[in-house]
């Protein structure tokens, strides 16, 4: 399978601040990718690089094997819903659909029309007078009706209330199922990602901490609970990602390809949230363990 996004040593600096540092990543086609990380970890930067709104300071990024925004054809293959879902506040919903039609050769007018009807958006209403959820839906409609091969969404639900958030993600999933489009969406909420994504990329401290299919991540990560100061060390195929200690017991998050058979540990399946939090933490304070009293 070919890569949707492939980066090599990708670095982006704003003046002296490093937003993304030496990021090497390959995301295969046909996934709904969740890009998670704390605020300021470089999620937006990575996505803006992927759609060609930013240029790398160093390294390279390719989308479908080409430099982002290299030409009209490349632009056509990638749909983008930017953070805060910008729309032209003075233009009506109908104007936005016309805008999409005028600027995209593969525009699917009937799909756009259908979606707007489904959402119950008034065609004459100006985008500036829509609610946050409606505006996000409008932006998503424009991105979807473009019929892209990759849909990039930058914190699409961050400003939405829980109901609007669920609706948005649901419609997104329907679209993915219907049109076999790859998706990459960023969020700082694991719950959103868990609901829709089958591939995960964790960014923290401007570096990629982990990437892989959700299923694989879940099967290779374990939560170990056992006595403090265990007698035997873990084998070297097992990597401790995070460890927390109380006076008497330790909780470890461990990556291991094989099953862990060690009587001194209680082995539990790690949740996605466990994994995400552990890797985010790893980015912050690499070798040191945190003690929880």
């Amino acid at each position: 399978m070919s890569a949707v996004i492939k980066t090599e040593g990708l670095t982006k600096r704003y003046h002296r601040n490093v937003a993304l540092s030496d990021c090497t990543l390959e995301i295969p086609e046909g996934h709904v990718v969740g890009l998670v990380g704390p605020n300021g970890s470089g999620k937006s930067t990575l996505l803006n690089l992927a759609v060609g709104l930013l240029r790398p300071s160093e390294g390279s990024i390719e989308v479908f094997g080409e430099r982002p925004a290299a030409g009209p054809d490349q632009l056509r293959r990638v749909g983008f819903v930017a953070q805060d879902t910008p729309t032209y506040s003075g233009l009506s919903v109908h104007d936005h659909l016309r805008f999409g039609e005028h600027t995209n050769p593969r525009w699917d007018a009937s799909l756009a029309q259908r979606r707007v009807e489904q959402l119950g958006l008034d065609l004459r209403r100006r985008a500036g007078r829509l609610s946050g959820g409606q505006r996000a839906q409008l932006a998503l409609t424009v991105a979807i009706a473009k019929r892209p091969d990759l849909l990039v969404l930058d914190e699409p639900v961050a400003s939405l209330d829980p109901l609007a958030r669920r609706e948005f993600l649901q419609i997104l999933m329907e679209t993915v199922a219907e049109h076999s489009v790859s998706v990459i969406l960023s969020s700082h909420l694991v719950a959103d990602v868990e609901r829709v994504c089958d591939y995960l990329v964790i960014l923290a401290s401007s570096k990629v901490q982990l990437s892989g299919e959700v299923e694989d991540l879940l099967s290779t990560h374990h939560r170990l609970i056992g006595p403090r100061d265990p007698v035997s060390d873990l084998s070297n195929t097992q990597v401790v990602i995070e460890s927390r200690h109380t006076d008497r017991q330790s909780t470890l998050l461990v990556r291991s390809d094989g099953p862990i058979v060690d009587p001194q540990w209680i082995v539990e399946a790690a949740t996605l949230e466990d994994i995400v939090l552990a890797y985010m933490g790893q980015g912050k304070r690499s070798p040191l363990d945190s003690d929880v009293a």
Binding site: N48, V51, G52, L53, R55, A69, G71, P72, D73, L75, R76, V78, G79, F80, A82, Q83, D84, P86, T87, Y88, S89, G90, L91, D95, R98, F99, G100, H102, T103, N104, P105, R106, A139, V142, K146
Partner: protein, 360 residues
């Protein structure tokens, strides 16, 4: 993309159209009155004799004219600030640039469409306005008889200013990415460029003609001409220097010294010597009646005997006036040259905007 550019611009276009209609109405309503006044008062006065008071009254009759001139000067700057600067800056500010630049058309095409629509509107707006203003003022200009004094607000040059101001606004918007600062920067930069051009470039677009005359006292009465100015009132004066006998420049602007002053210091007591300020001591005696109250200087209104003494004094120094000027028959050449230079500036600024947008 043209569609989007037009859709976004149409409110501003409507405002522009409204302003044009208001001015057209004002021009239309007042023009017949101006013409009537000209035909009944100014035109026949030539046959009767003294036209001076009539023409002055005619020129001063219109307050509207003053406002018209002010608007003519401001219009290109307003276009630059209100049509040019927000064109791209507002898209950055509201984040819609991220929507537009990620559709299937190249951003260069997007900028080209925006520039074409709003740029054409700027040229048409100012072009039509200048056409109306030139038409309305034709009789006024004829009476005024100094075409270079209204050079910037007539005929074709305003179109060049408008396109320059517009392209400047766009470029500054692209660079600054925020609407208000870009607008302010456009105003200031436009003003500076225009002033610089008027003072330092326009007079030298072609090498000026030179007229050398004897230096005369710049006041009426007595001997000599009434005015020590240019031989042609309609000319664009490049410089008017005063030279002494040795050929050294001792004065500007038709007078003595850097500011072109013309003063005599009269003696405090009868029989003393007067000084021609900045030149030297007068060899001749001044009449007793020339002596004003102690310590004051004469600027105007000296009596005939005093004027005679002053002229004698001036003549004794053998001063010359060197006038460099652009004659009236170069007016249209200058209009085209100036239009051309501002169009070139506009083109360069647009190239910069394209380059910057592509490179990001």
């Amino acid at each position: 993309m043209i569609w989007l550019a037009w859709r976004q611009f149409r409110v501003q276009a409507a405002v522009g159209l409204f302003v044009l209609i208001v001015f057209a109405a004002l021009f239309g309503v007042t023009h017949s009155h101006v013409l009537h006044l000209y035909n009944t008062a100014v035109k026949p006065c030539g046959k009767v004799g003294d036209c001076h008071s009539v023409t002055n009254a005619f020129l001063n009759h219109y307050d509207f004219y003053e406002h018209l001139v002010q608007f003519s000067i401001a219009a290109p700057a307003l276009i630059g600030a209100f049509w040019g600067a927000p064109l791209v800056a507002r898209e950055f500010e509201s984040g819609t640039i991220r929507l537009t630049w990620t559709q299937s058309e190249m951003r260069v095409k997007w900028l080209a469409a925006k520039l074409a629509v709003a740029g054409a509107a700027s040229a048409i707006f100012v072009g039509l306005f200048s056409l109306m203003a030139t038409w309305w003022s034709s009789s006024w200009d004829q009476v005024n008889g100094d075409p270079y004094s209204t050079f910037d607000v007539r005929n074709i040059v305003p179109v060049g200013y408008a396109l320059f101001a517009f392209a400047l606004g766009v470029a500054l918007g692209v660079l600054i990415k925020r609407t208000l600062p870009a607008m302010a920067a456009t105003f200031v930069t436009y003003g500076v460029v225009r002033v610089f051009y008027n003072l330092h470039i326009r007079p030298h677009l072609m090498s000026p003609l030179t007229s050398t005359t004897k230096f005369y006292a710049p006041f009426a009465g007595g001997a000599g001409p009434a005015f020590n100015g240019p031989p042609l009132r309609e000319a664009l004066i490049v410089s008017n220097t005063t030279l002494n006998k040795a050929g050294k420049v001792i004065g500007q602007n038709g007078g003595i010294g850097a500011n072109g002053e013309f003063n005599f210091s009269l003696p405090n007591k009868v029989g003393g010597h007067a000084y021609f300020d900045g030149v030297g001591r007068c060899p001749n005696a001044f009449p007793a009646t020339a002596r004003p109250p102690v310590g004051t200087e004469i600027h105007s209104g000296p009596g005939p005997a005093t004027v005679k003494a002053m002229n004698t004094c001036i003549n004794s120094f053998h001063l010359t006036s060197v006038l460099k000027y652009q004659p009236l028959d170069r007016y249209w050449t200058f209009q085209w040259y100036e239009l051309g230079s501002y169009l070139i500036l506009a083109a360069l600024l647009s190239v910069f905007s394209f380059w910057w947008v592509r490179r990001r």
